[in-house]
């Protein structure tokens, strides 16, 4: 056991050291090869060469890892999407035609649309509120930690938690689900929440909002801290009240970060399948695309063709967000 501990420590050390070594080593190397301190034209030329190479030096590990771990699988999936269940037989556009004509998929698309509308907005909103308000109170850090908890809890834990919220027992029986206990306490009749058509989608969304608010809070909180004191003090001197400061000064200042958080959560919504998978597996009209992708890909031996097709469509849905981000990036860097 002690040896294992030691092995683990060495392993961790080697891994991290190797990563550091690359950046230091390569940068020192480039500075040696093209020293800018050489006087005259050669120095200028060296600086120019070095600064042309250096971005790629900085980017290389990232590009390498992204290509290997994400781009390559995407290309593989494009290829798979034109093939049958085991990825051997060429089927042309059949998988896409199936996608376009499948009722379950349409339902999943509609639900996905609901999720995209509600979850990013709600999570960002609550995250922003918490981030802003906890700045002003002495127990802010405790509050933040508690809001952050759902984010840190394992997914397994989260499903059990919500089982004990949405659990349904017949009328007249002891309810062990919190929501039904509250409803019956007020004299209502218990509901099988996750089977209620349409509304059950929202009960599932609540879970993701509950988790993602912690994410939004942490990022936005860091951004809020970055707003210079003077800006706010100036506003205070001008007689602005708390709400005005929040909406007129703080929100515009961190607008870019809000957009980032929104984008990230939107993408999370497109990807997350475990909530739906574990709570309903898409039954009672709660299906979403990611869940369909997962079940087609792995269940019952897997149909890689259809799984890949759904995955690619999910990726297509994100194109508008990509375009918007490029435009943003171009604007930010317009001054360069």
């Amino acid at each position: 056991m002690l040896q294992q501990l030691l092995t683990a420590a060495i392993t961790i050390g080697i891994g991290i050291a190797a990563a550091f070594a690359y950046f230091y080593g390569s940068n020192i190397l480039i500075d040696r090869m093209f020293p800018g301190s050489v006087p005259g034209d050669r120095g200028t030329r060296n600086i120019r060469i070095a600064s042309a190479i250096r971005p790629w030096l900085f980017l290389f590990p990232a590009i390498f890892a992204l290509t290997l771990y994400l781009v390559y699988p995407v290309i593989d999936s494009i290829w798979l999407s034109f093939h049958g269940p085991s990825g051997v037989k060429w089927v042309g556009l059949k998988n896409y035609i199936w996608f376009a004509n499948n009722g379950t998929i349409h339902e999943a698309l509609f639900n996905n649309f609901l999720w995209l509308l509600v979850v990013p907005a709600a999570s960002t909103f609550f995250g922003l509120i918490v981030a802003a308000l906890t700045d002003r109170i002495f127990w802010g850090n405790i509050a933040k930690s508690l809001i952050f908890m759902p984010m840190a809890i394992s997914f397994v834990g989260a499903t059990v938690i919500w089982k004990f919220v949405y659990d349904y027992r017949g009328p007249g029986q002891t309810q062990i689900g919190l929501l039904n206990a509250v409803v019956t306490w007020f004299g209502g009749s218990p509901q099988a929440w996750i089977t209620l058509p349409f509304w059950n989608n929202f009960f599932l969304m609540v879970i993701l909002i509950w988790i993602q608010t912690g994410f939004a809070m942490v990022i936005l909180s860091a951004a809020l801290r970055g707003i210079p004191e003077e800006t706010i003090e100036a506003a205070v001197l001008d007689g602005a009240n708390g709400l005005q400061i929040f909406f007129r000064i703080m929100v515009p200042q961190i607008w870019a970060t809000i957009a980032v958080v929104w984008t990230t959560i939107t993408i999370t919504v497109l990807k997350v399948f475990d909530i739906v998978y574990a709570m309903t597996n898409g039954q009672w009209n709660t299906d979403v695309l990611a869940n369909e992708m997962y079940t087609w890909m792995f269940e019952g031996g897997g149909d890689f063709g259809r799984g890949a097709t759904i995955a690619l469509i999910i990726m297509l849905l994100v194109v508008p967000i990509m375009v918007w981000n490029i435009r943003n990036a171009n604007r930010e860097m317009g001054g360069h």
Binding site: M1, D135, T263
Partner: protein, 405 residues
């Protein structure tokens, strides 16, 4: 900033109240799980967790020992015992499932088979007959029982064979899988935010696009690739480097110990996998943060002759600490809580199980051991929470205060 609220006390009260409300709503479900983790499986399935806090009245069933163990008292054969295991008081009892609350405590019930049964308020019962008899009997009773909690779930999880090993394995996966992507992403983000080169906005777009690639999609192509590399690569056996890598578990060896290739299921493989999967978000978040850093500082350093590498190390990195810390928190807890990548890229043998896998192993084949799940959840949450607390101070350091344009 703190001064704003302080000036207007009604507002600060509103702030306190609304934060409190949010915190309570956010915490109640988790609190439920926490309480659940101290209850037994049987309690969990019959009553809500909130009832565990106060004493509750419930119907229950107890079974007597076999009547052949009856003791003779005053010419009667009596079986005695107590229906309550951990205190409380009995209100009613019965001997038939049809009428479980037929008698008040103290009453003597006449049973169909000629025996008599009585239960006292403290739960002691007497089941008597005139002649020796046999068999057992169920006693139905209604009792008010005090809250009862158990540490058994935690003991069960923590003392499971191999849990410590799984804990170390988890750390071995999570720590480098957090540090490496941050380092790589920080450099890439800096390049994308402050360096000029052709194709920059295209790269940014690709990064955003890659955010949405579902993990599940990558698993099979990657594992196939790993296996292909594993079978093709030949590493000289005698090299010192190879030896070091072997003992440190990087996995540059085959199953039978010979140095013939890269073991597809090794720590190196899983670190790189987590790095790949975590990079898009890391680059996206960090670039966005870095692009907001004050241009004057960077430009003036450039004028002073600092290279980009120096600017990055001496200016960007320290200023980006809040963003680095917040990403570190997330990346750590994703890798810590991950089960999917670990089961695919690490072997699922006992000695290389990570904690999430080990915890899952404690459940029966049919799952649904809520009490174990609950205790496990709180054991595994402790480490990410520690990381959160440790890094939280970097989130609030306000390094940028006063320096942003």
């Amino acid at each position: 900033m703190l001064s704003i609220g302080g000036r207007k006390s009604p507002l600060i009260w509103a702030v306190h109240l609304s934060v409190l409300l949010l915190v309570v709503i956010w915490t109640i479900p988790t609190a439920g799980l926490f309480i659940t983790s101290f209850r037994t499986a049987d309690q969990i399935s019959v009553s809500g967790w909130w009832t565990a806090l106060s004493s509750s009245e419930r119907n229950a069933v107890a079974r007597t020992p076999d009547a052949s163990t009856a003791k003779e008292v005053n010419g009667k054969y009596v079986v005695t015992g107590n229906v309550l295991q951990s205190g409380g008081s009995v209100a009613k009892f019965g001997w038939s499932s049809l009428h479980p609350t037929q008698y008040d405590v103290g009453q003597v019930a006449q049973l169909r088979d000629g025996t008599t049964l009585t239960v006292a308020k403290d739960g002691t019962y007497q089941w008597a007959n005139d002649k020796p008899f046999s068999g057992t009997r169920r006693i139905f009773f209604t009792a008010k029982t005090p809250p009862s909690f158990t540490l058994d779930n935690y003991v069960h999880v923590l003392t499971a064979n191999g849990m410590l090993r799984a804990f170390i394995n988890s750390l071995t996966v999570a720590v480098p899988a957090t540090v490496i992507p941050i380092l790589i992403a920080a450099y890439a983000a800096f390049a994308l935010a402050w360096m000029q080169f052709p194709g920059r906005s295209l790269l940014i777009a690709i990064v955003v696009g890659l955010l949405v690639v579902p993990l599940q999609m990558s698993l099979i192509p990657l594992l196939t690739l790993y296996n292909a590399i594993g079978h093709a690569t030949v590493v000289p056996d005698s090299s010192l480097m190879g030896h070091v890598l072997t003992i440190s578990g990087l996995g540059l060896h085959s199953d039978d110990g010979k140095m013939i290739g890269i073991n597809p299921k090794s720590y190196l493989g899983i670190w790189l996998a987590h790095t790949g999967f975590g990079l898009p978000l890391a680059i996206y978040l960090l670039r966005n943060y870095m692009v907001g850093l004050p241009r004057e500082i960077i430009e003036s350093s450039r004028v002073d002759g600092a290279t980009d590498f120096q600017i990055f190390r001496k200016i960007i990195l320290p200023l980006s600490f809040p963003a680095l810390a917040s990403f570190a928190i997330f990346q750590f807890l994703w890798t810590w809580n991950d089960l999917l990548v670990a089961t695919v890229f690490l072997s699922h043998q006992q000695d290389s199980l990570v904690m999430t896998g080990k915890l899952k192993d404690l459940l029966g084949s049919h799952g649904g051991d809520w009490e174990i799940l609950a205790a496990s959840a709180f054991i595994s949450i402790s480490v990410p929470l520690l990381v959160f607390f440790a890094l939280q101070k970097y989130l609030v350091r306000g390094l940028l205060a006063g320096s942003v344009k």
